[in-house]
């Protein structure tokens, strides 16, 4: 399982490196979305630093949706699907590998967006650093859940539009927990509780994925 995971993860990251979609497209999109959120809220509210965590996660979520989409579209072409199916890869490994690749990409994006929100949304630098561990866990959970939902919606008609519909409600709790823990970090509150909740979510989603990813891929 672990070998398969590493193999799949390396493959996904290599495809990413080759196309550089993350660097040239996803990151600018994230920065832009951050700015747009500021615009949509108007200066008075956006300047208000308490909106920072919420906006940060909102933008991260949008970015994650793009990246999940891409992570699945790589597998989707009919020919690829059939011939990769004949490799008989361990689905749990595929799931973990894809999640890991997605998580790495999300971490990079997350750190940059965090820096962006310190600059743009006046989130306190100290708070952002304190929040970093919880951000990492949240993004990992997002990656794991995203891989699961990505597989669920891939292939069908208009998969690109189906994904957000199913995923948004599922990700909302993660978003809320992440936002809460971020806010707690900002106000020097106890973040351990949120940490725990997020870790549980991460573990639960991973377990579900390991058990059920095979069912999703079957056909």
């Amino acid at each position: 399982m672990i070998r398969t995971a590493l193999l799949v993860c390396a493959k996904d990251l290599r495809i990413e490196m080759r196309s550089r979609v993350l660097l040239w497209q996803v990151l600018p999109f994230g920065v832009m979305a951050l700015l747009l959120c500021g615009i949509a809220l108007g200066p008075a509210r956006a300047g208000n630093s308490s909106a920072g965590p919420g906006l940060f996660y909102l933008v991260t979520l949008l970015v994650a949706l793009l990246m999940i989409n891409r992570s699945q579209s790589v597998e989707k072409t009919p020919g690829t699907k059939a011939s990769v199916a004949t490799l008989g890869l361990d689905p749990a490994g595929v799931f973990l590998g894809k999640s890991l690749a997605l998580a790495s990409e999300l971490w990079v994006t997350g750190v940059i967006l965090l820096a962006g929100s310190v600059l743009v949304l006046h989130t306190s630098l100290h708070g952002a650093i304190l929040a970093l561990p919880s951000v990492i866990v949240t993004l990992a959970a997002l990656a794991v859940a995203g891989t699961l939902y990505g597989a669920l919606t891939s292939g069908g008609d208009g998969a690109a539009t189906l994904l957000p519909v199913l995923a948004l409600p599922a990700f909302a709790p993660l978003l809320i927990a992440g936002e809460r823990s971020f806010s707690a970090a900002l106000h020097h509150g106890g973040i351990w509780r949120w940490w725990l909740i997020l870790s549980v979510a991460l573990v639960v989603y991973s377990a579900i994925g390991i058990l059920l990813y095979g069912v999703l891929e079957e056909s």
Partner: protein
């Protein structure tokens, strides 16, 4: 004549930059309100002017010329590309100098202000232009698409500028000129400011010229390897 002016352009630019720095950093007395900090006024506004208008203008005009059938040539495409690349650097510099100024002046790195927001948006647009170029590897398709985008950006510059103003404004506005175009600052300060604008504009074109030459060199190298690629490809046919 043309040769001479070309050869003189570099030294002239350097001189202008030098004069600007010397005047701005040492000769001009510190500002009454902002103190030494105000010296950024000889860098930041002119950098911003280049970033927003000169470079985008160059890119937009050459894009439009590319789109017009009669002036369509690879030169226009290259100029647009290089100008946009240089523009990214200048926008970054605008943001950096502005933020450096903003931190002591306003107490924050960033505010939700018309100028700042529109500068950032334009930065993303310039990056988008470069991303668009990367996404297409057929040279003619790439040239056409980026030319269209170059024109679209040009329309966006005023739209963004005004829209962000309609949306809300709070920033340092007309410090140098009032709305009826009367000069608010005088003497050596005004002259230094003028020189800084000229110097940075010249700097832009200087860099642009070198960037352009680099591009041509790169294409020549590609052309040389093209000959090689052609004969390798032809050999493929001979083998079978």
């Amino acid at each position: 004549m043309k040769q001479l002016s070309q050869r003189l352009f570099g030294p002239l630019t350097l001189t202008a930059m030098g004069v600007n720095l010397v005047l701005g950093l040492w000769i001009v007395p510190p500002d009454k309100v902002q103190g030494e900090l105000a010296r950024l006024v000889y860098i930041h506004p002119s950098v911003a002017w280049v970033a927003l208008y000169v470079s985008f203008g160059t890119a937009a005009i050459s894009s439009a010329l590319y789109l017009w059938k009669r002036t369509r040539s690879v030169v226009m495409d290259r100029v647009a590309h290089c100008a946009m690349e240089v523009s990214v650097v200048f926008i970054a510099l605008t943001l950096i100098t502005g933020s450096i100024w903003g931190r002591p002046a306003w107490g924050v790195w960033w505010v939700w202000d018309a100028r700042l927001t529109s500068s950032a948006i334009l930065g993303v647009l310039a990056l988008g232009y470069l991303a668009l170029r990367r996404a297409n590897d057929d040279p003619q398709l790439r040239a056409r698409r980026s030319a269209v985008f170059g024109v679209l950006i040009a329309i966006n510059v005023p739209i963004i500028h005004f829209s962000v103003q309609w949306w809300k404004t709070l920033h340092q506005g007309a410090t140098v000129f009032t709305s009826n175009r009367t000069l608010l600052i005088h003497g050596i300060q005004a002259w230094t400011l003028l020189i800084s604008f000229i110097a940075f504009t010249m700097l832009f074109f200087w860099i642009l010229r070198y960037r352009y030459r680099l591009e041509v060199l790169r294409e020549n190298i590609a052309g040389a390897s093209l000959e090689e690629a052609l004969s390798a490809r032809r050999r493929e046919g001979a083998q079978s």
